[in-house]
């Protein structure tokens, strides 16, 4: 993980925060930063090795990073306790429905536009 690329990530986050707050967008600053970095990479047409390693190192333990915020649920345990029925029903129905809809749309579109169902052009490279 190099300091230079950590700095770039922070610069993109900062840019994202400034744009998000400045234009009063309902988007989180880091997400705007992510979109900017993605566009930057598409225009550049190449991924620097150092950035790949730095991002990989940071994302390897991504799930650790949301533990502190997750613990904050202890302040809202009453919501989970009082509303566990609508919450669990919503989670189960919505998860199954989302899997079904996105898979069916993908299969349907592939058939419509004649793209090879086994992967073909979409998996090489």
């Amino acid at each position: 993980m190099t300091l230079g690329f950590i700095t770039w990530l922070l610069v993109f986050q900062l840019l994202g925060e400034v744009i998000s707050k400045g234009l009063d967008l309902p988007l989180p600053g880091p997400v705007v930063g992510m979109a900017l970095l993605f566009l930057g990479l598409v225009f550049r047409g190449e991924l620097p090795d150092g950035l790949k390693d730095t991002a990989g190192g940071l994302l390897k333990h991504l799930s650790l990073l949301f533990v502190p915020a997750g613990v904050g649920v202890m302040m809202h345990l009453h919501l989970l306790k009082d509303e566990w029925q609508p919450i669990s029903a919503a989670l189960v129905v919505s998860t199954v429905l989302t899997i079904a809809v996105s898979a069916l749309v993908m299969v349907g579109l592939s058939k419509l536009f004649g793209s090879d169902p086994k992967g073909g052009d979409m998996t090489d490279g």
């Binding site: 986050q13 650790l64 996105s102």
Partner: protein, 239 residues
């Protein structure tokens, strides 16, 4: 507790060191159990860590604020990590450039289904506004979902827990749902897992098939972006 020990406790509970250390220890414990159990989705390491920490804070009568003073050093890295999600997104994008439009439409339909069906079901069963807003981004990867919840008036920490539960549900129910629908295309199967249940679904897809894993990873990144942009508009229409 004898007086000497109590003095040490009083001192430690006011420094950031303790909150930071227990966070790492709890996470490592979660990872250890998860690995020992052969990466079973029900034993999600984050969920284990959160349960352990909430239990510890409650038993010791520690306030969340006090804990967070230490844990915020871990929390801070969420921002740069979210920006770093652009890297895997770009890597997957390179591989599927020619079919990108199809993928985008499929992910967008999944994104809208996830938010609308969660809000609809919870609303019909009488959930509060706070819960509805926290539920809406639950299919998105946690760092982005928490940011969305914060921007749209939800409770970010509740969203974090709902995101993890959604991931676990997707990993457990995904194969069954896709088999019931007779979906054999690995691209569609992966895309569905990544769209509906982010990183946890992606990890599950990767265990099964490499193509599915790649599509899950791409779908997870795209759904994060799509939901961040679309959800405020959808919520604006509903509420």
């Amino acid at each position: 507790m004898d007086d000497g020990l109590y003095q040490i406790w009083v001192y430690l509970s006011t420094t950031p060191l303790l909150g930071l250390t227990v966070t790492l220890v709890a996470y490592q414990t979660g990872m250890w159990i998860y690995t020992r159990a052969g990466l079973h989705p029900l034993l999600n390491p984050v969920l284990i860590a959160v349960v352990l920490l909430v239990g510890l804070l409650m038993v010791t009568g520690t306030e969340y604020r006090t804990y967070f003073d230490g844990a915020q050093f871990v929390h801070f890295m969420l921002g740069p990590a979210t920006v770093a999600l652009a890297v895997p997104l770009y890597q997957q994008f390179q591989k599927v450039r020619r079919s990108f439009a199809l993928i985008l439409v499929a992910v967008l339909s999944g994104s809208a289904t996830a938010a609308l069906s969660a809000i609809g079901v919870a609303w019909a069963l009488g959930a509060s506004r706070e819960t509805l807003l926290s539920l809406a981004p639950k299919s998105v990867t946690a760092p982005i979902a928490m940011g969305i919840a914060e921007a749209t008036g939800g409770v970010p920490s509740l969203t974090a827990v709902l995101v993890i539960l959604t991931g676990i549900l997707g990993a457990v129910l995904g194969t069954w749902t896709l088999n019931a629908l007779r979906i054999k295309d690995w691209r569609a199967r992966g895309l569905a897992m990544g769209t509906a249940s982010h990183g946890i679904g992606t990890a599950r897809a990767l265990q099964v098939n490499e193509v599915a894993g790649a599509f899950a990873s791409l779908a997870m990144g795209l759904n994060g972006l799509a939901t961040a942009i679309l959800l405020p508009l959808i919520l604006g229409l509903i509420f």
